[in-house]
Protein backbone atom coordinates (compact mmCIF):
# COMPACT_ATOMS: atom_id res chain seq x y z
CA UNK A 1 0.00 0.00 0.00
CA UNK A 2 1.40 3.42 -0.93
CA UNK A 3 1.70 6.20 1.64
CA UNK A 4 -1.02 8.26 -0.13
CA UNK A 5 -3.57 5.50 0.43
CA UNK A 6 -2.41 5.04 3.98
CA UNK A 7 -2.85 8.77 4.62
CA UNK A 8 -6.37 8.71 3.16
CA UNK A 9 -7.39 5.78 5.34
CA UNK A 10 -5.90 7.28 8.50
CA UNK A 11 -7.27 10.82 8.16
CA UNK A 12 -10.67 9.92 6.69
CA UNK A 13 -11.04 7.30 9.40
CA UNK A 14 -9.96 9.78 12.09
CA UNK A 15 -12.51 12.32 10.80
CA UNK A 16 -15.26 9.70 10.93
CA UNK A 17 -14.25 8.71 14.47
CA UNK A 18 -14.11 12.35 15.62
CA UNK A 19 -17.60 12.96 14.23
CA UNK A 20 -18.90 9.81 15.95
CA UNK A 21 -17.40 11.08 19.23
CA UNK A 22 -19.23 14.36 18.55
CA UNK A 23 -22.52 12.51 18.04
CA UNK A 24 -21.90 10.62 21.27
CA UNK A 25 -21.18 13.88 23.14
CA UNK A 26 -24.43 15.36 21.82
CA UNK A 27 -26.26 12.26 23.00
CA UNK A 28 -24.72 12.60 26.48
CA UNK A 29 -25.59 16.32 26.55
CA UNK A 30 -29.22 15.42 25.71
CA UNK A 31 -29.11 17.30 22.40
CA UNK A 32 -27.84 20.64 23.79
CA UNK A 33 -26.94 23.00 20.92
CA UNK A 34 -23.46 23.66 22.32
CA UNK A 35 -22.56 19.95 21.94
CA UNK A 36 -22.43 20.24 18.15
CA UNK A 37 -20.88 17.12 16.56
CA UNK A 38 -19.30 19.06 13.66
CA UNK A 39 -17.71 21.64 15.96
CA UNK A 40 -16.39 18.89 18.27
CA UNK A 41 -14.95 16.99 15.29
CA UNK A 42 -13.28 20.14 13.94
CA UNK A 43 -11.67 20.85 17.33
CA UNK A 44 -10.46 17.23 17.72
CA UNK A 45 -9.01 16.95 14.19
CA UNK A 46 -7.57 20.49 14.34
CA UNK A 47 -5.84 19.55 17.60
CA UNK A 48 -4.56 16.31 16.07
CA UNK A 49 -3.08 18.21 13.08
CA UNK A 50 -1.27 20.64 15.38
CA UNK A 51 0.03 17.86 17.67
CA UNK A 52 1.30 15.71 14.77
CA UNK A 53 2.68 18.72 12.82
CA UNK A 54 0.60 17.68 9.81
CA UNK A 55 0.11 20.50 7.26
CA UNK A 56 -3.57 21.29 6.56
CA UNK A 57 -3.01 20.72 2.81
CA UNK A 58 -1.99 17.11 3.54
CA UNK A 59 -5.10 16.52 5.64
CA UNK A 60 -7.37 18.15 3.03
CA UNK A 61 -6.09 15.77 0.35
CA UNK A 62 -6.40 12.77 2.68
CA UNK A 63 -10.02 13.57 3.58
CA UNK A 64 -11.22 13.97 -0.02
CA UNK A 65 -13.50 10.88 0.15
CA UNK A 66 -15.63 12.74 2.73
CA UNK A 67 -15.54 16.18 1.14
CA UNK A 68 -16.54 14.84 -2.27
CA UNK A 69 -20.02 14.01 -0.93
CA UNK A 70 -20.67 17.64 -0.01
CA UNK A 71 -21.79 18.64 -3.52
CA UNK A 72 -24.45 15.88 -3.87
CA UNK A 73 -25.57 16.63 -0.28
CA UNK A 74 -26.11 20.28 -1.25
CA UNK A 75 -28.19 19.24 -4.25
CA UNK A 76 -30.15 16.91 -1.92
CA UNK A 77 -31.47 20.00 -0.07
CA UNK A 78 -33.76 20.43 -3.09
CA UNK A 79 -35.81 17.46 -1.86
CA UNK A 80 -37.19 19.01 1.38
CA UNK A 81 -37.73 22.24 -0.55
CA UNK A 82 -39.87 20.42 -3.14
CA UNK A 83 -41.70 18.52 -0.40
CA UNK A 84 -42.65 21.79 1.30
CA UNK A 85 -43.62 23.64 -1.85
CA UNK A 86 -47.29 23.47 -0.82
CA UNK A 87 -46.52 25.66 2.22
CA UNK A 88 -44.48 28.04 0.07
CA UNK A 89 -47.43 28.54 -2.31
CA UNK A 90 -49.87 29.04 0.58
CA UNK A 91 -47.97 31.94 2.15
CA UNK A 92 -45.88 33.16 -0.74
CA UNK A 93 -45.70 36.92 -0.02
CA UNK A 94 -45.22 36.84 3.76
CA UNK A 95 -42.53 34.23 3.16
CA UNK A 96 -40.69 36.23 0.51
CA UNK A 97 -40.77 39.45 2.54
CA UNK A 98 -39.77 37.82 5.85
CA UNK A 99 -36.95 35.93 4.15
CA UNK A 100 -35.64 38.96 2.27
CA UNK A 101 -35.73 41.09 5.44
CA UNK A 102 -34.11 38.44 7.64
CA UNK A 103 -31.47 37.53 5.08
CA UNK A 104 -30.48 41.16 4.43
CA UNK A 105 -30.37 41.96 8.16
CA UNK A 106 -28.15 38.92 8.85
CA UNK A 107 -25.76 39.94 6.09
CA UNK A 108 -25.61 43.71 6.60
CA UNK A 109 -25.59 43.83 10.41
CA UNK A 110 -22.68 41.37 10.58
CA UNK A 111 -20.73 43.35 7.98
CA UNK A 112 -21.51 46.63 9.80
CA UNK A 113 -20.23 45.33 13.15
CA UNK A 114 -16.97 44.07 11.58
CA UNK A 115 -16.43 47.45 9.91
CA UNK A 116 -17.28 49.27 13.18
CA UNK A 117 -14.50 47.30 14.89
CA UNK A 118 -12.18 48.25 12.04
CA UNK A 119 -11.51 44.58 11.31
CA UNK A 120 -11.58 45.03 7.54
CA UNK A 121 -13.30 44.03 4.33
CA UNK A 122 -12.00 40.45 4.10
CA UNK A 123 -13.31 39.49 7.52
CA UNK A 124 -16.63 41.27 6.82
CA UNK A 125 -17.07 39.28 3.61
CA UNK A 126 -16.10 36.08 5.43
CA UNK A 127 -19.04 36.62 7.76
CA UNK A 128 -21.50 37.88 5.13
CA UNK A 129 -22.68 34.45 3.85
CA UNK A 130 -22.61 32.79 7.29
CA UNK A 131 -26.41 32.56 7.74
CA UNK A 132 -26.72 30.24 4.74
CA UNK A 133 -26.41 26.51 5.40
CA UNK A 134 -22.71 25.46 5.54
CA UNK A 135 -22.27 23.87 2.08
CA UNK A 136 -23.80 26.96 0.47
CA UNK A 137 -22.02 29.51 2.68
CA UNK A 138 -18.71 27.81 1.87
CA UNK A 139 -19.40 27.76 -1.86
CA UNK A 140 -20.29 31.46 -1.76
CA UNK A 141 -17.14 32.24 0.26
CA UNK A 142 -15.03 30.46 -2.35
CA UNK A 143 -16.79 32.40 -5.10
CA UNK A 144 -16.08 35.83 -3.55
CA UNK A 145 -12.49 34.88 -2.73
CA UNK A 146 -12.50 34.59 1.08
CA UNK A 147 -11.54 31.59 3.23
CA UNK A 148 -14.37 28.99 3.12
CA UNK A 149 -13.20 27.17 6.26
CA UNK A 150 -13.55 30.32 8.36
CA UNK A 151 -17.02 30.92 6.88
CA UNK A 152 -17.97 27.31 7.70
CA UNK A 153 -16.99 27.76 11.34
CA UNK A 154 -18.92 31.08 11.47
CA UNK A 155 -21.97 29.27 10.09
CA UNK A 156 -21.75 26.61 12.78
CA UNK A 157 -21.26 29.17 15.59
CA UNK A 158 -24.12 31.32 14.25
CA UNK A 159 -26.31 28.22 14.09
CA UNK A 160 -25.55 27.42 17.72
CA UNK A 161 -26.37 31.01 18.78
CA UNK A 162 -29.65 30.84 16.83
CA UNK A 163 -30.56 27.49 18.39
CA UNK A 164 -29.95 28.84 21.89
CA UNK A 165 -31.84 32.13 21.34
CA UNK A 166 -34.71 31.19 19.02
CA UNK A 167 -37.36 30.24 21.60
CA UNK A 168 -36.89 33.04 24.13
CA UNK A 169 -35.94 35.70 21.58
CA UNK A 170 -39.13 35.20 19.58
CA UNK A 171 -41.33 34.79 22.65
CA UNK A 172 -40.04 38.15 23.83
CA UNK A 173 -41.18 39.68 20.52
CA UNK A 174 -44.62 38.09 20.84
CA UNK A 175 -44.01 35.77 17.88
CA UNK A 176 -45.95 32.58 18.57
CA UNK A 177 -46.83 31.42 15.05
CA UNK A 178 -45.02 28.11 14.40
CA UNK A 179 -44.51 29.03 10.76
CA UNK A 180 -42.66 32.20 11.86
CA UNK A 181 -40.63 30.35 14.50
CA UNK A 182 -39.57 27.68 11.98
CA UNK A 183 -38.73 30.15 9.24
CA UNK A 184 -36.67 32.31 11.61
CA UNK A 185 -34.73 29.30 12.92
CA UNK A 186 -33.92 28.02 9.42
CA UNK A 187 -33.10 31.46 7.99
CA UNK A 188 -30.89 32.71 10.83
CA UNK A 189 -29.52 29.38 12.05
CA UNK A 190 -29.42 26.98 9.09
CA UNK A 191 -29.46 23.27 9.88
CA UNK A 192 -28.50 23.74 13.54
CA UNK A 193 -31.30 26.25 14.14
CA UNK A 194 -33.75 23.99 12.30
CA UNK A 195 -32.76 21.01 14.44
CA UNK A 196 -33.75 23.01 17.56
CA UNK A 197 -37.35 23.68 16.45
CA UNK A 198 -38.09 20.70 14.17
CA UNK A 199 -38.93 18.28 17.01
CA UNK A 200 -41.34 20.81 18.58
CA UNK A 201 -43.86 21.06 15.73
CA UNK A 202 -44.21 19.65 12.23
CA UNK A 203 -45.17 23.00 10.70
CA UNK A 204 -42.10 24.60 12.32
CA UNK A 205 -39.99 21.79 10.82
CA UNK A 206 -41.41 22.40 7.33
CA UNK A 207 -40.84 26.16 7.49
CA UNK A 208 -37.34 25.69 8.93
CA UNK A 209 -36.56 23.56 5.87
CA UNK A 210 -37.95 26.28 3.61
CA UNK A 211 -35.86 28.86 5.48
CA UNK A 212 -32.65 26.85 4.95
CA UNK A 213 -33.28 26.30 1.24
CA UNK A 214 -34.51 29.74 0.27
CA UNK A 215 -32.05 31.68 2.46
CA UNK A 216 -29.28 29.60 0.91
CA UNK A 217 -30.44 30.68 -2.54
CA UNK A 218 -30.89 34.31 -1.55
CA UNK A 219 -27.46 34.44 0.10
CA UNK A 220 -25.86 32.92 -2.99
CA UNK A 221 -27.44 35.69 -5.08
CA UNK A 222 -26.94 38.66 -2.72
CA UNK A 223 -23.48 38.18 -1.17
CA UNK A 224 -21.57 38.38 -4.49
CA UNK A 225 -23.42 41.65 -5.17
CA UNK A 226 -22.47 42.92 -1.70
CA UNK A 227 -18.85 41.92 -2.36
CA UNK A 228 -18.91 44.02 -5.51
CA UNK A 229 -20.50 46.98 -3.73
CA UNK A 230 -17.81 46.91 -1.01
CA UNK A 231 -14.95 46.88 -3.49
Amino acid sequence: MTTAWCSILVWSGATLCAYLLGLWARHLAKGAALANPTLIAILLIGGALILTHTPYATYLKASAPITILLAPATVALGLPLAENLRHVRQSLWPLILALAAGSLVAMLSGVAVIYAFGAGRTLALTLAPKAATSPISMAVARQIGVDPSLTAVMTILGGIIAAVLVRDGLKLMGVRDWRAVGLAAGTAGGGIGAARVAPLNSLAAAFAGIGIGLNGLLTAVLVPLLAQALR
Binding site: T15, S103, S109, F117, L123, G174, A180, G189
Partner: protein, 135 residues
Protein backbone atom coordinates in the same frame (compact mmCIF):
# COMPACT_ATOMS: atom_id res chain seq x y z
CA UNK B 1 -29.32 -5.17 1.93
CA UNK B 2 -27.69 -5.43 -1.50
CA UNK B 3 -30.87 -4.04 -3.07
CA UNK B 4 -30.71 -1.09 -0.64
CA UNK B 5 -27.09 -0.34 -1.54
CA UNK B 6 -27.92 -0.61 -5.24
CA UNK B 7 -30.82 1.83 -4.90
CA UNK B 8 -28.62 4.14 -2.86
CA UNK B 9 -26.02 4.15 -5.64
CA UNK B 10 -28.68 4.95 -8.24
CA UNK B 11 -29.84 7.84 -6.04
CA UNK B 12 -26.27 9.11 -5.60
CA UNK B 13 -25.80 8.86 -9.35
CA UNK B 14 -28.98 10.91 -9.91
CA UNK B 15 -27.78 13.57 -7.43
CA UNK B 16 -24.38 13.65 -9.15
CA UNK B 17 -26.06 14.32 -12.50
CA UNK B 18 -27.66 17.42 -10.97
CA UNK B 19 -24.26 18.47 -9.54
CA UNK B 20 -22.80 18.05 -13.03
CA UNK B 21 -25.58 20.12 -14.65
CA UNK B 22 -25.14 22.83 -12.00
CA UNK B 23 -21.38 23.00 -12.44
CA UNK B 24 -21.76 23.18 -16.23
CA UNK B 25 -24.32 26.01 -15.94
CA UNK B 26 -22.00 27.86 -13.56
CA UNK B 27 -19.16 27.48 -16.06
CA UNK B 28 -21.52 28.85 -18.70
CA UNK B 29 -21.68 32.10 -16.73
CA UNK B 30 -24.51 31.72 -14.19
CA UNK B 31 -23.38 33.63 -11.09
CA UNK B 32 -24.32 30.93 -8.52
CA UNK B 33 -22.27 28.05 -7.04
CA UNK B 34 -22.76 24.90 -9.15
CA UNK B 35 -24.29 22.72 -6.40
CA UNK B 36 -26.78 25.51 -5.59
CA UNK B 37 -27.90 25.56 -9.24
CA UNK B 38 -28.23 21.77 -8.99
CA UNK B 39 -30.40 22.22 -5.88
CA UNK B 40 -32.79 24.49 -7.79
CA UNK B 41 -32.92 22.13 -10.78
CA UNK B 42 -33.66 19.16 -8.52
CA UNK B 43 -36.41 21.02 -6.65
CA UNK B 44 -37.95 22.04 -9.99
CA UNK B 45 -37.80 18.48 -11.35
CA UNK B 46 -39.38 17.07 -8.19
CA UNK B 47 -42.05 19.76 -8.18
CA UNK B 48 -42.87 18.81 -11.78
CA UNK B 49 -43.32 15.20 -10.67
CA UNK B 50 -46.12 16.36 -8.35
CA UNK B 51 -47.95 18.18 -11.17
CA UNK B 52 -49.80 16.47 -13.98
CA UNK B 53 -47.28 16.83 -16.78
CA UNK B 54 -46.37 14.28 -19.41
CA UNK B 55 -42.97 13.39 -18.01
CA UNK B 56 -44.54 12.64 -14.63
CA UNK B 57 -43.85 8.93 -14.46
CA UNK B 58 -40.12 9.19 -15.05
CA UNK B 59 -39.84 11.99 -12.49
CA UNK B 60 -41.72 9.97 -9.90
CA UNK B 61 -39.12 7.24 -10.44
CA UNK B 62 -36.42 9.87 -9.88
CA UNK B 63 -37.98 10.93 -6.59
CA UNK B 64 -38.23 7.33 -5.42
CA UNK B 65 -34.61 6.59 -6.35
CA UNK B 66 -33.03 9.53 -4.60
CA UNK B 67 -35.22 10.10 -1.54
CA UNK B 68 -33.43 7.64 0.82
CA UNK B 69 -29.90 8.71 -0.11
CA UNK B 70 -30.86 12.41 -0.08
CA UNK B 71 -32.33 12.12 3.43
CA UNK B 72 -29.25 10.22 4.59
CA UNK B 73 -26.84 12.83 3.18
CA UNK B 74 -28.82 15.68 4.76
CA UNK B 75 -28.91 13.89 8.13
CA UNK B 76 -25.12 13.51 8.16
CA UNK B 77 -24.23 16.73 6.36
CA UNK B 78 -22.41 17.73 9.56
CA UNK B 79 -19.72 15.14 8.87
CA UNK B 80 -19.20 16.25 5.28
CA UNK B 81 -17.89 19.73 6.06
CA UNK B 82 -15.59 18.73 8.92
CA UNK B 83 -12.52 18.62 6.58
CA UNK B 84 -13.31 22.11 5.28
CA UNK B 85 -13.96 23.43 8.79
CA UNK B 86 -10.64 22.09 10.08
CA UNK B 87 -9.07 24.73 7.81
CA UNK B 88 -9.52 27.21 10.69
CA UNK B 89 -6.19 25.93 12.01
CA UNK B 90 -4.64 28.03 9.24
CA UNK B 91 -6.54 31.12 10.49
CA UNK B 92 -5.78 31.04 14.21
CA UNK B 93 -3.82 34.32 14.07
CA UNK B 94 -6.78 36.13 12.49
CA UNK B 95 -9.15 34.69 15.11
CA UNK B 96 -6.82 35.72 17.95
CA UNK B 97 -6.58 39.28 16.60
CA UNK B 98 -10.27 39.84 15.82
CA UNK B 99 -12.23 37.60 18.16
CA UNK B 100 -14.16 40.41 19.89
CA UNK B 101 -15.38 41.78 16.54
CA UNK B 102 -16.30 38.29 15.36
CA UNK B 103 -18.14 37.41 18.57
CA UNK B 104 -20.18 40.62 18.57
CA UNK B 105 -20.93 40.38 14.83
CA UNK B 106 -22.07 36.76 15.13
CA UNK B 107 -24.29 37.45 18.12
CA UNK B 108 -25.84 40.69 16.81
CA UNK B 109 -26.48 39.50 13.27
CA UNK B 110 -27.92 36.14 14.32
CA UNK B 111 -30.24 37.63 16.95
CA UNK B 112 -31.42 40.43 14.62
CA UNK B 113 -32.02 38.01 11.77
CA UNK B 114 -34.05 35.68 14.01
CA UNK B 115 -36.21 38.50 15.33
CA UNK B 116 -36.74 40.25 11.98
CA UNK B 117 -37.57 37.05 10.08
CA UNK B 118 -39.92 35.78 12.78
CA UNK B 119 -41.61 39.11 13.38
CA UNK B 120 -42.26 39.92 9.68
CA UNK B 121 -43.56 36.39 9.04
CA UNK B 122 -45.78 36.55 12.13
CA UNK B 123 -47.24 39.96 11.23
CA UNK B 124 -47.90 39.20 7.56
CA UNK B 125 -49.24 35.66 7.90
CA UNK B 126 -52.95 35.03 8.18
CA UNK B 127 -53.72 33.63 11.64
CA UNK B 128 -53.63 29.87 11.73
CA UNK B 129 -56.84 27.86 11.51
CA UNK B 130 -56.00 25.69 14.48
CA UNK B 131 -55.30 27.77 17.61
CA UNK B 132 -54.03 24.63 19.37
CA UNK B 133 -51.02 24.73 17.06
CA UNK B 134 -49.63 28.04 18.36
CA UNK B 135 -46.47 28.01 20.44
Amino acid sequence: MVGGIFRGLIGLCALSIFVFLGVKLQAAGLALPGPVIGLVLLAAALAASASKSGARKGLLGLREALTPVAKYLIKHMGLLFVPAGVGVVTQLDLLRRHWPAIAVALFVSTLLSLIVTGWVMHRLSTPMADPGETA
